[in-house]
């Protein structure tokens, strides 16, 4: 049993594509093996496979959930590549009424890929995304076991995998990380990416050595679409909808064209464009117990999502292809925020309106090639990606009235406000006007190479894989902030009053009066600039504190081996990643009198590297059942807001808030065990356990009475320093169970129902510096749960899928989680449980046209936060329900 001889023995290649016999849709994730050997692979997203073999005659077995197991005879000679076009028939004859078409085909594709994957991952296909009323990538991901999301204005935005905050999950497009348009973080707001752009989403919960190692929670890969056949494929949708809270319409549409050209369909071209405009809003109250302040907030928003993606690929021959994939997404958010702030202690009421426009855009272009040679394969790719958040205007104007106000909470759910004439705009005088704009940029240039060498060890096939990657990142943030106060002469608020945007606020409980119209105010400001005074000091402080420039270069290499030994697959390898970082920002020093003393440039840099061993085991008990285990080492880089050396040295408060350029990433050991049982009628039951041990956990530490700076010549002898630091440890354990399947065992009409459900339990324990620590006991520690970690997360969805009519009710449950760590435990802020009920239905007129409708948040579930104790609610935000109705077509 010699390794080298066996490797040289493989001198022929089987290349093929597996499609549905009826509609020629590619079947991704199909298991292909040479009968009587352990030599097998699974098909990729385009249904294609590549199998190295010794020359000879074989029986090729193909297994695909929902389809009949099929065998094909094939012969291949030395140095030859055998080309195979294999078509499978669905199980429709065996499964009686279950026809594997339409949405079920998408589910089958996802489950087959999931089943045959080497690592623990969940895959959601586009068809499956379309079954839920999820307009953006974040909301589509919330249906996956172990995933919960953070929302903004009722729409999903950030993804949390297995109870870890968003910075512990990396976001990829077509296998490569994309930059975050936001200034101070790495993670990507996925509401910027329309779900219509995606062919599928992969959520890897255990990493293999050929993946970036900077993901502890998981790695999300969003895959765009590729042309599949020589027949022109034109599909799309057009829909309109209604938002009940705002009494306003929404509209969306999508159009896709894809075709392969040429006699041998060598050239593929696909373009997909979509647009979604949503007019939404929220009614919100917020309470700040420490300051005894209460706010009523009335939001009005217009959001748009525009997506454009395209793939051009060219196959020179079955063994060599090149491709270019591009994705552009643009998310815009015009927001008007109108609010009252009641401050009983000062006998003041503030009335403010904010008018802001924000545009997030992401551009990702991947160009690469795949080459299959007789003894190895070689893939390489270059990527340019750019994220930008441009806020061309962010204007907020505040007026203030010297009016007495009191409030109380007869029930925790709604405050009772006693403030006479607080809507009388003649009582309000100008307090402050803020006008600003910001621009955050993040650019990645990446190049990578993967080399695979198949070999044979006795009767067992294996694969050696090596690769490397370089990524150069440049991130910057610039801000303009102008704060104006009146010099006198500015009229009272009634001169700038607009009209209410809603008939009632919070169910008619409060009268918001006529809001301040920012545009009207700015017209006055521009006509009378001499009545206003710019606060130059505040402007200098704000702009210096937040702006930064950063460079981050990552160099990575890996080696891994994948060995099949009968039913056991072993994948083991090592990944090395080295990161060089440089940051520049500014120190802002406030003197003891509270005035700006100086602003000085500062620079920071650090280098770190990780050696990440990975081990994956997969044991096929039978063709429907897998046992999996993985032990992996990963890490997560700190957020830029923690790293950049931007700092405020406030000698008046004796507090320095300091960035830490030397902050190390959080490193983690991850253990995963999973059992999965797939069903021939396209379903799965799975259950697993996971454990993560996080070292160098980042937390905010207070260093009492320290010289400043912490290194070098002190300019201040004694000051308290707040800084993100490494040092403490956290443990996270949990389990997840999931079931999805067609209830074909039920009698009659009920057999058309299917169930999709999952549940994840997570527990965490993180040690941080005790909030009671002081200069006398600075090393005191305490335990708490990780911020963002929800104990209970789950989904349940029941659907009816007839030949023409489908209907689905879906509920997503996000358990409560710690949102912000307070100064003391009683000030910790939690986000409460939230369960959202959605409904969707469709009717197929024929195979080309389908009418669909969707209703979201049917029970008007609010976003709620509490402080310390569940009875102390500090925020309740309501969105009401919204809907869409439209037509989908596939010509």
């Amino acid at each position: 049993m010699g390794f080298s001889g066996a490797a040289h023995a493989q001198q022929a290649i089987l290349r093929g594509k597996i499609t549905d016999a009826v509609n020629q849709e590619p079947l991704a994730g199909a298991a292909v093996e040479l009968a009587g050997t352990s030599n097998g692979v699974s098909t990729g997203l385009n249904g294609e496979f590549r199998l190295y073999a010794t020359p000879g005659s074989y029986t090729l077995k193909v297994h695909y959930l929902g389809y009949q197991d099929t065998t094909f005879s094939v012969s291949v000679a030395t140095g030859e590549t055998a080309l195979l076009q294999l078509r499978l028939k669905s199980n429709s004859n065996h499964l009686s009424d279950v026809l594997v078409t339409g949405s079920l085909q998408g589910q089958a594709r996802a489950l087959n890929q999931q089943k045959n994957a080497d690592n623990i991952k969940n895959i959601v296909a586009a068809d499956q995304i379309g079954r839920f009323p999820d307009p953006n990538a974040a909301e589509a991901l919330q249906r996956v076991p172990g995933v919960n999301i953070e929302r903004d204005q009722g729409e999903g935005r950030y993804v949390l995998v297995r109870g870890l905050a968003p910075q512990f999950t990396n976001i990829n497009v077509n296998g490569e990380q994309i930059p975050s348009p936001e200034a101070d973080v790495r993670f990507v707001a996925l509401d910027a990416i329309p779900s219509d752009q995606l062919a599928s989403m992969e959520i890897s919960k255990s990493l293999t050595p050929d993946m970036d190692g900077d993901a502890i929670g998981g790695s999300v890969n969003l895959i765009t679409r590729t042309a599949q056949s020589g027949r022109p494929q034109i599909s799309g949708s057009l829909a309109g909808g209604y938002n009940n809270l705002m009494d306003k319409p929404n509209v969306n549409g999508q159009l896709q064209f894809g075709q392969r050209f040429g006699a041998n369909e060598k050239l593929g071209f696909l373009v997909n464009a979509n647009y979604y405009q949503n007019k939404l809003g929220s009614d919100n109250w917020e309470y700040a117990p420490q300051d005894n302040e209460l706010e009523l907030r009335d939001y009005e928003l217009t959001r748009t999502r525009t997506g454009l993606s395209s793939t051009i690929d060219y196959k020179f021959n079955p063994n060599h292809e090149v491709y270019v994939r591009g994705l552009y997404s643009r998310f815009t958010d015009r927001e008007w925020r109108r609010r009252y702030v009641f401050v009983p202690e000062d006998e003041e009421i503030e009335k403010l309106t904010k008018d802001r426009f924000e545009e997030q855009s992401i551009l990702s272009i991947n160009a690469g090639a795949k080459h299959t040679f007789q003894r190895f394969f070689l893939n390489y790719e270059a990527q340019y990606s750019y994220g930008e958040q441009d806020t061309p205007y962010d204007n907020e104007v505040g007026f203030i009235a010297g009016l007495p106000a009191t409030f109380g909470f007869p029930t925790p759910k709604y405050p009772q406000i006693d403030a006479e004439n607080f809507t009388d705009n003649t009582q309000y005088e100008l307090d402050e006007a803020e006008f600003g704009h910001t621009l955050a940029k993040d650019r990645n240039i990446t190049a990578k190479l993967d080399l695979g060498i198949p070999y044979k060890l006795g009767d067992n096939s294996g694969l050696l894989k090596f690769g490397g990657k370089v990524r150069r990142k440049r991130k910057s943030y610039n801000i303009t902030a102008n704060k104006y106060e009146g010099r006198g002469g500015v009229p009272t608020l009634d001169a700038f009053a607009g009209s209410p945007v809603k008939d009632s606020f919070l169910g008619g409980r409060y009268n918001m009066g006529n809001p301040l119209d920012v545009t009207s105010f700015i017209q006055y400001f521009n006509a009378n600039p001499a009545q206003f005074e710019l606060n130059v000091e505040d402007k200098n402080i704000d702009e210096a504190l937040e702006a930064f420039d950063a460079e981050e270069n990552v160099y990575a290499g890996y080696g891994m081996v994948r060995q099949q030994m009968g039913p056991l697959m072993v994948l083991a390898g090592l990944r090395y990643e080295k990161t060089n970082v440089n940051y520049s920002s500014k120190d802002v020093i406030i003197n003891a009198a509270g005035d700006l003393e100086s602003i000085r440039p500062v620079e920071g840099s650090s280098n770190y590297d990780f050696l990440l061993p990975q081990l994956h085991l997969k044991y096929e008990l039978n063709k429907f059942t897998n046992l999996r285990a993985a032990a992996t080492y990963t890490y997560a880089r700190p957020n830029f807001s923690e790293l950049i050396p931007s700092q405020e040295i406030n000698r008046e408060d004796n507090l320095a808030t300091v960035g830490n350029a030397n902050l190390k990433p959080v490193s983690a050991f991850n253990l995963d065990v999973l059992a999965e049982r797939y069903f021939g009628n396209v379903g799965v039951l799975s259950g697993g356990f996971f454990y993560k041990k996080l070292d160098d956990f980042i937390y905010r530490k207070m260093i009492f009475a320290s010289p400043y700076p912490l290194v070098g010549e002190p300019i201040i002898d004694r000051i308290d320093i707040a800084q993100s630091q490494n040092g403490n440890q956290a443990n996270l354990t949990g389990f997840e169970v999931a079931y999805q399947g067609n209830l074909t065992f039920l009698p009659g009409f009920l057999r058309n129902f299917s169930l999709y459900t999952n549940y994840t339990y997570t527990h965490s324990d993180a040690k941080i510096q005790s909030r009671s620590a002081s200069s006398n006991n600075p090393n005191a520690t305490e335990s708490l749960r990780l911020p963002g970690q929800a104990k209970n997360v789950g989904n349940i969805s029941l659907s009816y899928e007839g030949q023409k009519f489908t209907a689905r009710a879906s509920m997503n449950f996000n358990g409560e989680y710690l949102s912000e760590i307070g100064g003391v435990a009683e000030e910790d802020i939690y986000v409460k449980n939230r369960a959202q009920l959605d409904f969707s239905a469709s009717y197929a007129f024929n195979s080309r046209f389908r009418l669909f409708t969707e209703f979201m948040n049917l029970t008007n579930q609010p976003f709620e936060r509490y402080m310390g104790h569940k009875n102390l609610l500090i925020q309740r935000e309501f969105y009401s329900w919204w809907s869409r109705i439209g037509v989908k077509f596939d010509l």
């Binding site: 647009y275 525009t306 700015i522 600039p529 200098n540 008046e652």
Partner: protein, 344 residues
Amino acid sequence: MKNIKFWALAGAFLYALSGCDDKDDNVVTPLMDVAYPQVLLLSDEGNGDLEDEDKFSFKITLADRVDPQGEELGGKVVPLEKDVTVQFQVTDMEGFSKLSDYVKDWTAFYEIDDCTTSEDQNINLNLTFDPATGIGSVRFPAGVEEIEVEFETDEDLFDDDTFNAESRGLVLKLVGLNANGQNVVANTTNAFEYKVLDDEGVYGEWEVGVDDATEFQNFKNLFGLINEDIKHLDADEVEEITLSFEYGEWKAEVKLKETEMVEECGEVEEENKVIEIEAEFEELEDDKLEGDLEFAESIEQEDGSEIDFAYAGSFKVQGKRLTLTLKGEYDDAETSAITLHLKK
């Protein structure tokens, strides 16, 4: 050709959709940065002098803006590049009806340095003033941060021997500007109030009897709270102690016997050393001979921080004598109510 049309159509469609983001819907861009104009405004909200004063003045200044060099973090005056002409007007008069009865002459100048004004160099600011209408104009030259307009007044018009409870004075505003093509505007909203202070009331300078050991000790007990030099004063060291009640401001001045040589504009003179305390009035019932008052200020500490002090109490004027009862607070310390007896 078909492809070009398709892409042109698709591009136009996407561009049209981008207009639905409401980005420009009802948006007005505020004047910011260089678009925000220079502002000329009155330097002070007001001033006042005793009734026998023979002049008063007001200043017109440029507002601070962001230092283009980034050196002055709190902002700085950036002078104009060309001359402008500012119009002003006396808008209200109290205690008299004819402006020409009070205002006799006028002049305008600016400081070139601490010892030289534009008048010294015969620079004409083209000041015009019509006492009949109260309207005037003055040139605000390029390169200058602030100008001062001074009026010569009739010192006898208000000078009497009786206490006047009614206000006397005038109000002045900027009313227009010839910007000479520059991005500069005038603040026409704010007013400058000039007030004639009655020296039969609380205003003026009052003397503490240094020779009276009780009065001197009371003075030390009261103001030693905030000033270590006063706390440790010896009567033998003191030449004179005066308390002044001025427009919006209270001042204590301890003139020591010890002298020092002071150079001012090239001339060296021997002057007494002085300990000064100044504060702003929070309250002063100046329309009465007997009433309440409060004044406060902050004192810079060695580490640069500031701590507030405040004195509150009452006053009573009887002819040339003032009885002042005050209680002081500073940091966490305070005095008892202490009465001083002062004379003019």
